[in-house]
């Protein structure tokens, strides 16, 4: 992140703030909430866009929360390289040197939200591998995957925990992350089927699927 540069995104912020929030029910969240509400001093990693609601929800219950908008971090233009075949890709090694680094921290819960669906292909497996090592044994990871029916233009959302099984969703664009880039849509990179998801989390101890009505498959994974 450039600090002494200039980036005035006030207009973008205002527009983003005005975007309507949608509400959805989440069965997987309901399971996580049981832990959040009953256990003390959990360590939580939220990989979605900065959510005051999530920070408030967790800190009010005495938990520590780390916020790291990984999707925005992945849009850093300096990560772009070419692979051996000359095709454009992202430097996953450098990405992991600069992100998901928390010395001494191990997490009870990782909130991935819809990150794997929108993250560049080159980063998905390395990121999930790193998350495995960041989770405590028995720790849980929550992720959402679109089904085929969602279509390539499925909007990217940020998620706010409202409590119980209720989430608020807010549409996000690239420019909302304040890295100086103009607002543009995050594109769904691919659709994972059940087998793909199982492979992605094959190092984890268990995986539980929840099929929702809005063409989203919720996944709760235990390390």
């Amino acid at each position: 992140m450039k600090f002494f540069g200039s980036s005035d995104s006030t207009a973008q912020d205002a527009a983003a703030a005005q975007r309507a929030k949608l509400t959805r029910r989440s069965s997987s969240l309901a399971q996580l909430i049981k832990s959040l509400d009953s256990e003390e001093t959990l360590c939580i990693l939220d990989l979605g866009s900065t959510s005051p609601a999530n920070i408030r929800y967790c800190t009010e219950r005495g938990h520590k929360i780390y916020s790291d908008d990984l999707l925005i971090s992945s849009t850093d233009p300096s990560l772009a390289i070419k692979d051996e075949a000359g095709k454009p890709t992202l430097d996953s090694k450098r990405f992991l040197e600069e992100n998901l680094v928390y010395p001494g921290a191990q997490f009870d819960i990782v909130l991935c939200w819809n990150l794997p669906d929108y993250l560049d292909e080159s980063l998905v497996k390395p990121v999930i591998g790193r998350l495995w090592s960041l989770l405590k044994p028995g720790g849980m990871l929550l992720a959402f995957f679109h089904t085929q029916e969602a279509g390539p233009d499925a909007p990217c959302y940020r998620y706010h925990i409202m409590g119980g099984d209720t989430l608020e969703m807010q549409h996000i664009a690239r420019g909302d992350g304040k890295k100086g880039s103009p607002a543009s849509k995050f594109r769904l990179q691919r659709v994972f089927n059940n087998r793909n998801i199982e492979n992605l989390f094959r190092d984890f101890a268990s995986i539980k699927f929840f099929l929702a009505r809005d063409n989203v498959r919720e996944v709760l994974v235990v390390r």
Binding site: A16, A17, P52, R56, S67, D68, D69
Partner: protein, 151 residues
């Protein structure tokens, strides 16, 4: 959330650049650039909308409206407004983050913090390097800035 009136705050204006350790016993409003550390135990710090701070910050209350790259330790309260871009950990008793703020780091709420007397004299030491307009801004900075010779 109401931002405190800053008329009584010591000001670091938009055109001022400070590198080094900044400490004091009065409230401070930073709208310029600070690189190093800021120690205001018992007092409040506001990083204004133009403020760009690359420092660990220790104060009673911290409000970030601009950019902060560093850890916040606020004995009472930390607040990130909607224009804030903050990278670093926050350790405080109460935290408020407005919708639209960008935050990357840890939030650790600590109910008991060590009380400080806040009786340190106001000094801004180390290598303080003012920009070309610093002379005019210096009149509004209610603290002594001593250019450092590195000793």
């Amino acid at each position: 959330m109401e931002t405190p009136k800053t008329a009584e705050f010591a000001h670091i204006g938009k055109s001022v650049i400070i590198k080094g350790e900044l400490s004091g016993s009065e409230d401070l409003y930073v709208d310029g650039q600070v690189e190093g550390s800021i120690e205001l135990a018992g007092n409040r710090l506001i990083i204004g909308p133009h403020g760009q701070v690359r420092a660990n910050v220790n104060a009673k209350g911290v409000i970030v409206q601009g950019k902060l790259d560093g850890n916040i330790r606020a004995s009472e309260r930390a607040e990130l407004t909607k224009s804030a871009i903050a990278v670093g950990d926050i350790i405080t008793q109460r935290v408020a983050i407005e919708e639209g703020a960008y935050f990357k780091g840890k939030v650790d709420i600590q109910k008991e913090t060590t009380k400080t007397d806040g009786a340190k004299p106001v000094t801004a030491a180390a290598s303080a390097a003012a920009s070309s307009a610093a002379a005019s801004s210096a009149a509004t900075v209610a603290m002594k800035i001593n250019p450092s010779d590195g000793k």
